[in-house]
Symmetry: C2
């Protein structure tokens, strides 16, 4: 179901109930861009902290423009899931003027990709649901309070000859023109709307609206300002005649609100952020696919600004999403890894719809889209969230089949078999650290077989291959014109590299150091530049959810979990999430 400004309120009213009944929630988002490149370009050697930094610095200026929410509710009696999928169009506020006017980045190729998938940008911009995160909400409140102080106006303090503010010479003609219009307006009488209109409207600039208020009104105290709406390049001012002068105070538009049309209520501004708040407060299992970017955007755009510190990010995510699963982590881990050659969402679903996988039937609720195998909807956030949920069901069922002799389809959220996958978020491209571990320390594999190499600018790929040829084949990851990481395929040869390659044996202009030496020297540089700078740090922000400890070794337990005690054969380590290749 597409959700825009027009039906948002009614959807919001029903969401609490839906979330309360939900077994689990699948999410997906579409953004205006992925990464701004440059130093934030992803590397296959990123550590989790480095990856987070790159996402924070290189991706967070892009915007989520579509949020897919797919709610799966297990009906035990019939062993089926009922599904309701929402496709929210979200767009920043556009009529708050100086209070809030978001600027955001877009990547041309991302917009083009969405357009080819049928995304409707006109609908987004005209009908997208606005939102504010908590920090933006605070700023808007503050600005509303300060509005009076900061209006740039001419003084109205009467000077000794009783003049109000002077009219700049280049505006005199205009003010006379308006006075003349108002005079005619006041002189007209009778019931003929054409000859005696009830209201008078005129176009002017913001400055002119101030002058009119000051000067024309003093000549016509019975002139009431009904509204002053900002238009491109100016205002449309609407005035009428007051019924009597004693009603003036009551009826008059507050001068301080010119030229804004309406006085906004802060409660109306949170918009779509309310939905996210309800999701994060529900405590339900949330599932996504390759979801690091989704999480970062959702947190930063609808909850609170992302922290600089990676550990703080982990704590924040655990707070807002105490139970989260990434189906790409599941699909690329044993036992699935060997059964599923392609873990991209579309091919993944295709494979999971066939043997040996088993699917629980999904019934679409009335008035909601039943996608079936509608791959025409691929890359619509709602559809992708739905597919993600389906994948989770099939993957969970398979684990059930592996471990329980006669396994009936059990609700995903009740299965302790997926607990090892909680709080693990997929890391693209990094073969030896395939996921971030939110609920504890990250994987720290040995990188003894990786070297940092510098060489002359003229060197090409084959020159590096040749340099390492005696140690077997390698993978090269460029870090610039004259440097690269080189990874040995034959890890066991790593002990020979540095002894074989030293100043006397290396070609001129080359150097080779271990990955560890490189990282240590980088940390030294960062530490000394941090010591030299004066750093102003904000006090840590209080989180608005329950406190979670990111270093806890205990995985968060599902609210309605079934204990393992009934089946002594269960061996969780058989499919412990691991990064080992073998």
């Amino acid at each position: 179901m597409d959700v825009t400004k027009s039906n948002f309120r009614s959807v919001l009213e029903g969401i609490d109930d839906e979330l309360e009944k939900a077994s689990f929630i699948a999410i997906d988002t579409e953004f205006t861009g992925l990464n701004d490149g440059g130093s934030n370009k992803l590397s296959s050697l990123d550590t989790p902290a480095e990856r987070y930094k790159k996402v924070l610095n290189g991706s967070s200026e892009f915007l989520v423009v579509q949020f897919g929410l797919s709610i799966f509710t297990f009906e035990k009696k019939v062993s089926k899931y009922v599904n309701k999928t929402y496709n929210f169009y979200v767009f920043p506020h556009t009529s708050m003027g100086g209070l809030c006017d978001k600027k955001f980045m877009s990547q041309a190729s991302s917009l083009s990709f969405l357009a080819t998938q049928g995304f409707d940008f006109n609908k987004l911009i005209k009908e997208g649901i606005p939102y504010l995160n908590l920090l933006e909400e605070e700023k808007v409140k503050l600005k509303l309070e300060k509005r009076n102080k900061f209006s740039n106006v001419d003084s109205k303090v009467p000077c000794h000859n009783n003049e109000i503010s002077e009219i700049p010479p280049d505006q005199k003609g205009y003010v006379d023109h308006i006075v003349s219009k108002v005079t005619t307006f006041f002189e007209s009488n009778g019931n003929d709307e054409e000859k005696s209109p009830a209201i008078l409207e005129f176009q002017c600039s913001s400055l002119q609206s101030e002058l009119i208020f000051s000067h024309v009104r003093t000549r016509y105290p019975n002139l009431l300002f009904v509204s002053a709406k900002k238009t491109c390049g100016g205002c449309t001012v609407t005035v009428k005649k007051a019924a009597s002068s004693c009603n003036l105070e009551k009826e008059s538009v507050d001068k301080k609100s010119l030229p804004a049309a309406e006085k906004p209520r802060i409660e109306d501004y949170m918009g779509f952020s309310e939905v996210v708040r309800k999701i994060t407060n529900s405590g339900k299992l949330v599932v996504g696919h390759n979801m690091l970017l989704d999480l970062c955007h959702i947190l930063g755009q609808f909850c609170e600004p992302l922290p600089e510190d990676y550990e703080e990010f982990k704590a924040m995510t655990n707070t807002f999403f105490p139970r989260v699963i990434d189906t790409k982590v599941m699909a690329t881990t044993k036992p699935f890894r060997d059964l599923l050659p392609n873990s991209a969402l579309g091919p993944l679903l295709k494979a999971l719809l066939k043997a040996p996988f088993r699917n629980t039937e999904i019934v679409t609720a009335k008035d909601f889209p039943s996608y079936k195998d509608d791959s025409l909807k691929e890359h619509e956030a709602g559809y992708d969230a739905f597919v993600t949920g389906r994948c989770l069901i099939a993957l969970t069922n398979y684990l059930g089949k592996l471990f329980y002799a006669s396994h009936k389809a059990a609700a995903v959220h009740e299965s302790s078999l997926i607990a090892p996958f909680y709080q693990k978020i997929y890391m693209m491209m990094v073969t030896d650290i395939p996921y971030m571990t939110l609920s504890g320390p990250d994987l720290e594999p040995s990188r003894e077989h990786i070297f940092y190499v510098t060489f002359p600018k003229s060197w090409k790929l084959h020159d590096i291959f040749h340099l390492f040829s005696v140690h077997g084949t390698v993978r090269v990851d460029w870090t610039g014109d004259t440097s690269a990481f080189v990874t040995l395929h034959r890890k066991e040869n790593c002990h020979f590299v540095l002894s074989a390659m030293n100043e006397s044996t290396l070609p001129v202009g080359c150097s080779v150091i271990s990955y560890e030496t490189y990282v240590n020297s980088k940390h030294k540089n960062v530490a000394s530049s941090q010591a030299a700078e004066v750093q102003e740090q904000e006090p840590p922000r209080k989180r608005s959810g329950p406190v979670m400890h990111s270093n806890s070794s205990a995985l968060p337990s599902p609210k309605k979990s079934r204990r393992d005690s009934e089946n002594p054969k269960l061996n969780k380590t058989q499919f412990a999430v691991s990064a080992d290749w073998d």
Copy 2:
């Protein structure tokens, strides 16, 4: 006429001819945003150099998405203009992958405003004409050359046991799967397309496409890679059987181009920049309305990156636009200032369609839109350019009427009466410096009546009014919580201010200095911080047009100008462009 990718080539072919015949060219652009606010927010006290800096830093990350080009050609025999108006949709390249993938800013309110005016964003993104400025073109060329060096691949140097690159263990299953598919593909024979397809297509990741190329191809030398198209999250690889092995070299897709689909030609990339190049090379009079942002965006986006230095910007603009007029400068200068109360484009045209102004008839060329008074098209770039041209015609005719007893409508481009307006670009909000002077030194009015004031955070507007009340009414321009510029309406009182306001008479926490003192101290601070920094500067870029000197006191003369000698009554100083209020 709307111009998109589909009809761009044919329009481009005809443009040289149109520009050759043109009398003058009107332009207008629509952008994704205006200003990013903060320290780049416009002030009514900006000098031209400060204003340029704010536009450079606060506006240039936004994008022109629509370019209106309205060509007016005067038919002398019938004393009419023939008009052709083009409405170009422009959008960055979206299928050049790593060669060029522009990231740009948008302002939510600007997009919303365009949408309400009927702008079609889906059309923009799908059909917008791409472009590159000169610097981007150079970078793309460089990247194309370097492509080989920077592909991250496994080595293909055979080691002593003749293996090619090793297959990572987690990819073994996938490679076996593809080998199996290809085996079936090669074994199938006959004419039945279903049983013996001509091509084989499969989805994979970039890494997998490299592995396939290395490993599968070695087993099947007759396997030809037709294409490898990048899709979201991976590639679609298409292969076929070579007719015979001797055709392999000829038919095979160059390995180096994987995973990109086509080998791009640099000539195809310039796109819409070609149109701008033709305009700037035409030497024709170019007219815009309130056109500073238009100029900066056009130069930066389609010509060359904008320089940091303001004087360099003036020289650059004069080079690319040797004859430019801003109708907002005309409309806000005598003799027009007193006749035209509202110089916004829409109201301006409305006023110019009535007496005492006179319009030359405009005939729309066949197949082009005849807007008439179609104000429904307002804020479509083509329409706004057309309106701008109409305004110029009416304004020029009026000058002709003023100075020549029996004035026939003369072509705008032949009228020396508008020469005083050349190279003057409107400056919004700044009453004492209403325009930038590109062709000479800028206006430097006295600002003796302006003061820089600091005060406690608790102060409100009336506190400042009160402080200055003895000197008459004032205008306050906030620069922050605790500072503002204060402008006396009664300039003559300026000499009393500083003597009246000193440490002993001012309230606690307040200070008042002259504008001049403030500016001098700001320059001192900038100079000392520049001396402390190590600045790396690129050598000045060569301009690609004729050299113009920005300090020349002679205004550039129109190519086909009529001399003033025939009418001794002409007195240019009567309407010399001036900033004096009186």
